[in-house]
Symmetry: C2
C-alpha cells in the first residue's frame, strides 16, 4: 500500500451512538477511489486530550494525511480547529475577512426564520468559527463552518491535517476543494489506484466460501478478499492493484461457476437494483400489501429515484379490519386460518394487485413480536406471497431477532421473492 | 474519570462503510451505564498490523480494559483472536472440548438447512474458531463463535482484552458473561457511576443554546454538556457524577423555562415516544396516506411494540390513480392544484381517515427528487395535513438534501405535526 490516510471522527454524540457516523466510511471510500488506503477510523468524544491522542496515534502510524470531521460548530464543545492548530504547533488568530463572510451567511439564514436570534450570541459563535491556525488554508463554508487544511509544523515532514465539518452534506460538498489543494496533493504523491469489486451471493454459508478460497489460494495472489455475511447475503469484496485485474477476473469466474444458483451479482448490484431492473425490463407495475412490516417494503421500493415507473403504491393493513376493507380479504378467511397464514398472505397480494390495478402484488403478514407469538405461530414467523402475471409464489419463513430485525428481514425476503418470481 | 475502556471494531466491511457499526456505540453505552468511560472507538480493517497498532494505542492511552468486536468467523480474514493472543504474548492452542461444542452447534444449524455443507470445510472453520490463547477465559458461543477474555501478559499490569463476536445479537447476548468475569471486575474496580440525561428541543438554533450555556456557565460546574442538532431537533446530553445531580436539576430547570415553547422532553423521550403516548392517552387510532414518503411514516409508527393499540394502517398512494381509487381524492382536484398541493394533502388525510375508519388521518405529498421539481414546486417541497377529531392542521415545508433526506425529514415533520395537533 503506497499511500495511507487516517480519519478522526469527533463528537460525543457519535462516540455514544446517538448519531451514526456517516463521514468515516464515506471518506474512506473516496480516498480508496483516489488510491489512498485507510487503515484506521478513530471515533473520539468532544474532549481535547482524546482528540490529541488520536492525532498522535495516526501520526505515529505513519499516515501521509489525517482528516478530521466534526467539532466546528459555534458552541464551546466544538474544539477541533483549536486542537488541530495546537497539534501542528500553529497559533490560531481571528481572520476578520472570514468572520465577515460567515456573518453574512448567518444573516441570510436568519432572514427567513421565525425565531429571533440573539445578535451577541451569533457574533460570539461566528468569531469562534473564524479562528484560523497560522499558515492554514481555509475551505470556504458550505453551511456556516469553514474547513481547514493545516500543514505540519514548520520544518517537519508530518502529515497535513484536513479539518472538515460534521454534517455529511457540508463535508461532501467541501471534499473537491481538499483534493485540489497543493499541500494535500503533495502529501498523497505516492498514491496508486486500488480497484474494488463486489460479488453478492444469496443464502450461502461463509464456511463454504472459505473452502473455495482455500482450494484456490495459489491463484489469488495480489487479491485482498474480505467476506461479510449480512441480511442473508454473502458479500465478497476484493481489492487489488490494476496489474492484478486478470487474477481477479479468473477469481470472479470461479465464484460465478461454483455458486451459479446463489449468484446475485458480480457488478455490485444490490437486491434493490435487481428488483427494479426486473420490473423495468418487463414493464411491470407493483403494489404491496403489508401487515407486520407496516409500509417498510413500499418505503424501500420508493427509495429509488425513478420508482414511479413501476411502484403504484400499497396498503398498510396493520389492523385486520383494513385487510378486509381495503384488500377484500374475507373476514372468514382470517378467522379460519389466522391473520398470519399463507391463505391471508395470498389474499392480501391478490387484493392489492386488484385494488391498485398492478401487475405484481406482494402480501406480507407475520408475527414481528415481541408479543403475539404462540406455539404454532411463534414470533418471527412470516408468510409472504408474490403474485405475478405468471402465477403465485409463496414463502413461509421463521426468522430470529427482535422486532426490528424480523421486520427488516421480512422486507428483504420479499424483495428476493419478487426477484425470483420475475426471473 | 476514574475508569476508562477502549473499543476496537474490526472488519474491512465496517471500515469501508458497507456495514454500519452498531457494536461500538452499544458497548460504549453499556460501559457508561456501569461507570466506565470510553475515550476512543477505533475501527480497523481485517489486517493484523492495523489491529495490533490499535491495541497498542489503547494500551498507551492507559485504559483499564480493551474490547474488540468482530473477526471471529471461520474464514482466513477473521484473525482477531490470534492477533490479540500475540498482543498479550500468549500462545494459542486448540481447545478440543470447545471444538466439539462448536461442531455440535454447527451440526444442529446444518440439520435444518437445504444446502449441503462440505464436512471438511466445516471442520477447518471449527478448528480455527476453537484456538484459545493460553490462560484466556472462553465465553461460550451464542452463534458459532466463542468470545475470549485474554489477560495481560504474565507479570504485567496491562489491560485485559475482551474479544467479542461481530454480529450484534451474539455480542449483546454474550455481554453479561463479560461483566461477571473476575478479571474484568478487577480491571474495572475503580469505576464510578456517571449519570446521563437528555433534553430535546424542537427547532432551536444551536447558537441560541450556546448563549444560554455561556450565561449560566458559573452554575454548570461538574456537568459535561454536549449538544447536537439533528433532524431539526437540538439534543442536549449531560453527563455528571451522582454528586452533581442538584447542579443538573437546576440546569434542566433553566432550559425548561427559557425554551418552554420548544421543549420536547427532559426524560429522553423521542418524538416517536411522544406521538405514541399522545395517541394512547386519548385513545385515538391513526391512519396514514403517503405519496413521496411511500410508507416510511407507517413503517415508523409500526416499529414500536404495541403499535396495534393505535395504528390501523395506511395507503401508499405513490401513483396518482391510487390517490383517487383508494383515497377518493377527486381527479379534478389533482388536475387543478397538482398532486403536491395543500388541497391534495388535505384530501388524502381525510380520505384515509374515512377509508380506514381512523380518528386521526395524516396526508403527505411532496417532491422527493431528484427529478420532478419545478420553479413553483421545487424538489424538497412537502405538503402535510393532519386531521384529528378537533380539526385540520396543515403545514407546507421546503427541506434541503437528497431524496433520502427529503423523505426522512418529511416523516419527522409529520410526527411533530401529529404531536402538536394532539396537544
Amino acid at each position: 500500500m503506497g499511500c495511507r490516510a487516517g480519519i478522526v471522527v469527533t463528537g460525543t454524540e457519535v462516540l455514544t451512538g446517538r448519531v451514526a457516523d456517516r463521514n468515516g466510511p464515506w471518506l474512506a471510500e473516496q480516498l480508496r477511489l483516489h488510491g489512498v488506503d485507510v487503515g484506521h477510523v478513530v471515533v473520539v468524544g468532544d474532549r481535547p486530550d482524546d482528540l490529541s491522542a488520536a492525532l498522535r496515534f495516526l501520526q505515529q502510524a505513519a499516515v501521509q494525511l489525517i482528516i478530521t470531521t466534526g467539532g466546528l460548530g459555534p458552541t464551546a464543545d466544538d474544539l477541533t480547529a483549536a486542537v488541530v492548530g495546537r497539534f501542528q504547533q500553529r497559533e490560531s488568530r481571528l481572520d476578520p475577512a472570514l468572520e465577515a463572510r460567515i456573518a453574512a451567511i448567518i444573516d441570510r439564514l436568519n432572514a427567513g426564520r421565525a425565531w429571533h436570534a440573539d445578535p451577541a450570541a451569533t457574533a460570539a459563535g461566528v468569531g469562534k468559527q473564524a479562528m484560523v491556525p497560522a499558515g492554514a488554508t481555509v475551505l470556504e463554508p458550505v453551511g456556516t463552518a469553514p474547513g481547514l487544511i493545516v500543514p505540519a509544523r514548520d520544518g517537519e515532514s508530518g502529515p497535513p491535517v484536513v479539518v472538515l465539518p460534521g454534517p455529511p452534506g457540508e463535508l461532501q460538498a467541501m471534499w473537491p476543494l481538499v483534493l485540489t489543494d497543493p499541500g494535500v496533493q503533495a502529501a498523497l504523491a505516492d498514491r496508486a489506484e486500488l480497484r474494488q469489486q463486489t460479488i453478492r451471493l444469496w443464502a450461502t454459508p461463509e464456511s463454504e466460501l472459505a473452502r473455495t478460497l482455500r482450494e484456490h489460494e495459489p491463484e489469488l495472489d495480489g487479491l485482498e478478499i474480505t467476506t461479510c455475511l449480512r441480511d442473508g447475503e454473502l458479500e465478497i469484496v476484493t481489492r487489488f492493484a490494476a496489474a492484478a485485474q486478470p487474477v481477479y477476473d479468473a477469481f470472479a469466474g470461479v465464484i460465478a461457476s461454483e455458486y451459479a444458483a446463489a449468484l446475485l451479482s458480480t457488478d455490485g448490484s444490490t437486491i434493490d437494483d435487481l428488483v427494479a431492473a426486473a420490473l423495468l425490463a418487463r414493464g411491470l407495475t407493483i403494489a404491496t400489501a403489508e401487515s407486520c412490516t407496516s409500509g417498510l417494503l413500499a418505503g424501500r421500493l420508493g427509495s429509488r429515484a425513478g420508482a414511479s415507473a413501476y411502484l403504484l403504491g400499497g396498503v398498510v393493513a396493520y389492523d385486520n379490519r383494513v385487510k378486509s376493507r381495503l384488500l377484500d380479504v374475507p373476514a372468514g378467511l382470517i378467522e379460519q386460518f389466522g391473520a398470519v397464514s399463507a391463505e391471508v398472505a395470498d389474499a392480501m397480494a391478490e387484493g392489492v394487485r386488484s385494488a391498485l390495478g398492478a401487475d405484481v402484488g406482494v402480501g406480507i403478514t407475520g408475527v414481528a413480536g415481541p408479543g403475539g407469538g404462540t406455539q404454532a405461530k411463534p414470533v418471527g414467523l412470516v408468510e409472504l406471497c408474490v403474485i405475478t402475471p405468471d402465477g403465485n409464489h409463496a414463502r413461509r419463513v421463521t426468522v430470529s431477532g427482535n422486532r426490528d430485525a424480523v421486520r427488516a428481514r421480512a422486507v428483504l425476503i420479499a424483495l428476493h421473492l419478487v426477484r425470483s418470481a420475475l426471473l
